[in-house]
Symmetry: C2
Subunit: 473 residues, 2 copies
């Protein structure tokens, strides 16, 4: 399999690919996709779904009080939107609970801090952990630390993320949050605190998952808000600083939730599916509007628009509301495990999980012979402001496991400039979603999904087909 457009062009131009193998989109399908696109831009369905989910369900921590309620909401919505098959597939994971959290500088300048525990963090001992802070500016600096400088202290890693359209500074913040705690634990730290992996300046810390080595040491891990991190740094410029951290949280056995799936059955090839969606779980601090109620709502609304056509699509349209993405892609992995035998039947897929600001880029991991079909999609998407990305797409977090099994995938990149202002904070609420940009997202999804469902030919899905591909997001 070839990754990028130039290779495909070479293959086509040199005649090494025969015309019969080329995937195309019928003109009638392009015309219909344009009509769907324009309808979607005027359609308030996705926003109504998102308003309903955030109001009537709210925060959706995987395994938490609203897990089942959210699944029931999704089942009801799929049915009401006219999806003709609606079912659930079980997903099991260790259930993490947050009970309470607080932190303060205790010396030399006592001040409360805005703090939040990280997912899968253990609790502090009763009474909390009080210890001197040792600060690092990067994960590499922490890795290079001597055990004697870290042992018994609270490791504080402070690196700033800047906003970018493609959100690439999350590549700095995310590993500091997810991998830093285990590294600090190995070095004997008493606890771990990071400057939030976020681009805002509000007293709302960013939570997120941590990754631990099986059988390795675990320590309490938390994030402070950016202004609190500034304060800690200001205090440290004056000398030694003692921090107190109190976290009551931890794992409470296993929980079985589910991926909730709705399908519009195809008229010609019902066993072949075009797949989209988002994850139904969210962190508990906000109501999960941008992460990822938006993705679920976009998928549902796009699927419904196709479902309401007088003529069913040739292939099936499958929308998945994934379980527990946040704590480690549990829903996406369960889906891939359950469906890997049918990977060839997963014609093309893309999950929305980067908010719902304007989509500006399409990146494709498809076989070169299908690039003319992607070009056709681009003709429909370009008026929406979508550019062709030259890298490969992994289909988004929850579809990356089945993409790794061989499903052809698109990555549709939102404008992420303000995404990390709100991501994983209490501020992830409905008011952060712009209805007009959300509708642009639905227009993008309905367009490519419909054209994929109507395509003459496939996009290269086959067992192991995209093993070489990375993700350029």
């Amino acid at each position: 399999m070839l990754r990028a457009l130039p290779c495909a062009l070479i293959a086509l131009l040199t005649g090494s690919v025969s015309a019969a193998e080329i995937t195309t989109i019928p003109d009638a399908a392009v015309k219909q996709a344009i009509a769907l696109r324009d309808q979607a831009l005027k359609d308030g369905q996705a926003y109504a779904l998102l308003e309903s989910l955030t109001t009537e369900v709210g925060p959706r921590l995987a395994g938490g009080v609203n897990d089942e309620k959210a699944r029931n909401w999704a089942i009801a919505q799929f049915k009401q939107l006219g999806f003709d098959k609606v079912w659930s597939e079980p997903v099991t994971f260790p259930k993490w609970v947050r009970r309470s959290e607080s932190a303060s500088l205790v010396a030399p300048f006592p001040q409360p801090l805005a703090v939040t525990a990280l997912g899968y963090s253990p609790a502090t001992p009763k009474g909390g952990v009080t210890a001197p802070i040792v600060m690092f500016n990067s994960l590499d600096a922490l890795k290079a630390a001597k055990r004697d400088d870290v042992k018994g202290k609270i490791v504080f890693v402070s690196a700033r993320m800047k906003p970018h359209r493609d959100g690439h500074d999350y590549g700095i913040g995310s590993p500091i949050r997810s991998r830093g705690p285990a590294i600090a634990a190995e070095l004997g730290a008493a606890a771990y605190v990071l400057r939030s992996a976020g681009t805002d300046s509000h007293r709302l810390p960013h939570t997120g998952v941590t990754q631990w080595k099986e059988g390795g040491p675990r320590i309490p891990a938390a994030a402070v808000s950016n202004p609190d991190a500034d304060l800690i740094e200001a205090a440290l410029r004056r000398g030694s600083v003692q921090l107190k951290l109190q976290l009551d949280c931890g794992i409470e056995g296993d929980y079985t939730g589910a991926n909730v799936i709705g399908e519009i059955t195809g008229s010609e090839k019902p066993d072949e599916v075009v797949i989209m969606g988002g994850h139904l779980d969210s962190w508990d601090l906000g109501t999960g509007a941008i992460d990822d109620g938006a993705g679920v709502s976009i998928g549902m609304a796009a699927g419904a628009l196709i479902g309401h056509l007088p003529q069913a699509p040739r292939r099936s349209i499958r929308v998945v509301a994934f379980a527990n993405e946040e704590a480690g892609l549990y829903g996406g992995k369960a889906y891939a495990a359950a469906h890997k035998q049918e990977v060839s039947k997963h014609v093309l897929g893309s999950e929305s999980d980067f908010g719902s600001d304007r989509i500006w880029r399409l990146s494709a991991s498809v076989k070169p012979e299908s690039l003319p079909a992607i070009d056709k999609m681009m003709q429909v998407l370009a008026p929406l402001g979508v550019e062709r990305g030259m890298g490969a797409g992994n289909g988004g977090p929850d579809l990356s496991p089945i993409h790794a099994e061989g499903m052809a995938a698109l990555s549709l990149t939102n404008d992420g400039t303000r995404y990390f202002d709100y991501h994983h904070t209490a501020d992830d609420t409905l008011d952060k979603v712009d209805p007009e940009q959300l509708a642009q997202n639905v227009a993008v999804y309905v367009s490519w999904a419909y054209m994929a469902a109507q395509a003459d030919g496939d996009f290269g899905s086959a067992p192991g087909a995209f093993k070489q591909n990375g993700d350029d997001d």
Copy 2:
């Protein structure tokens, strides 16, 4: 006393005021003021003071754990900055304490809410108050409500504030917060909740003081953040909504704090003072950077620049770090009560208490014969972007009581566009202060204060001189 420039011009032009009565600024003083202004723009003193106060003291709830610490900080800073007289004057007030606070929608859609108790709110009974919400869109609508529609319910007043350069929508939000609770209590409400008096969209509610009738009923009163208010409204659109409010807070007897005062003694007329400053207390949620660490730092830094001149000013420069502005101008009222016999000696005054974004307007409450001196000040201030306001100035919150006694006053209006994003929230932290704009503030204060100290003639301060004046801020 005449309020506005045209009247003064008429008086001067018609010759009804003799030249001998006209207040002027000597040319040498104008020249020196320009040098001080330009020095201030390059001076980092105010920012260093503010960084010190927010880092080493932090939140400064009046009567709270940091009240005395903040006063000691101010005394030490005044001395270190070379103020030759430093003293405290006692201020006594009812001490209000915040212990804990939480709220949630309990039916039909259980969700936690971001809430904060309002100053002087009583606690809820143990176990909290749970009751249906009755919503009003304005204070007038609440005032017009029937007792039967309110009794036993939780009153929710939801009005949005928009950002403006002069912050005038606080004229909507402030009375809803301060006066609404007493009105709801008179109508038999169980509790009172408002949409935060703020212009932001963050899950950080805005606290602030409440006003109660002596001997009248009091009910628990709190603010929810703007996104939480949106959620309550969305739930109410679907029907009846039950809210649970738990506040542990209340008055714990009286506390005696102090106004902390630093003075640069005048060389010719030491008993005549030019007065400026800010309030040292803050709400407890943030570190009180914009409200009002900035004002204290601006006054201290401006005073210090004058104090470091080789030649002392003719009149004294007095900088006051006022006690407990937030709960009801206790410091400002105590100052006026202690000094009203000397009101004629308070030549001119202005407090900074609207953040430290760029000052764009000067409004004056002075005698008409001193308007030529104000014009001279404007020549020095105009290059800083300051316009002449046509309304009257009351000298800022803590100087308004002594202004009401007869002190001539300036109001220097900051750009308040983003002030109510942070005001009275956990987000009032140092990162919200722009060092460059803060320096512009110091440049404004040092300029007018120096010229007032050097003026030939006065600005009209006399017992009862400004009784007619309101405030155009």
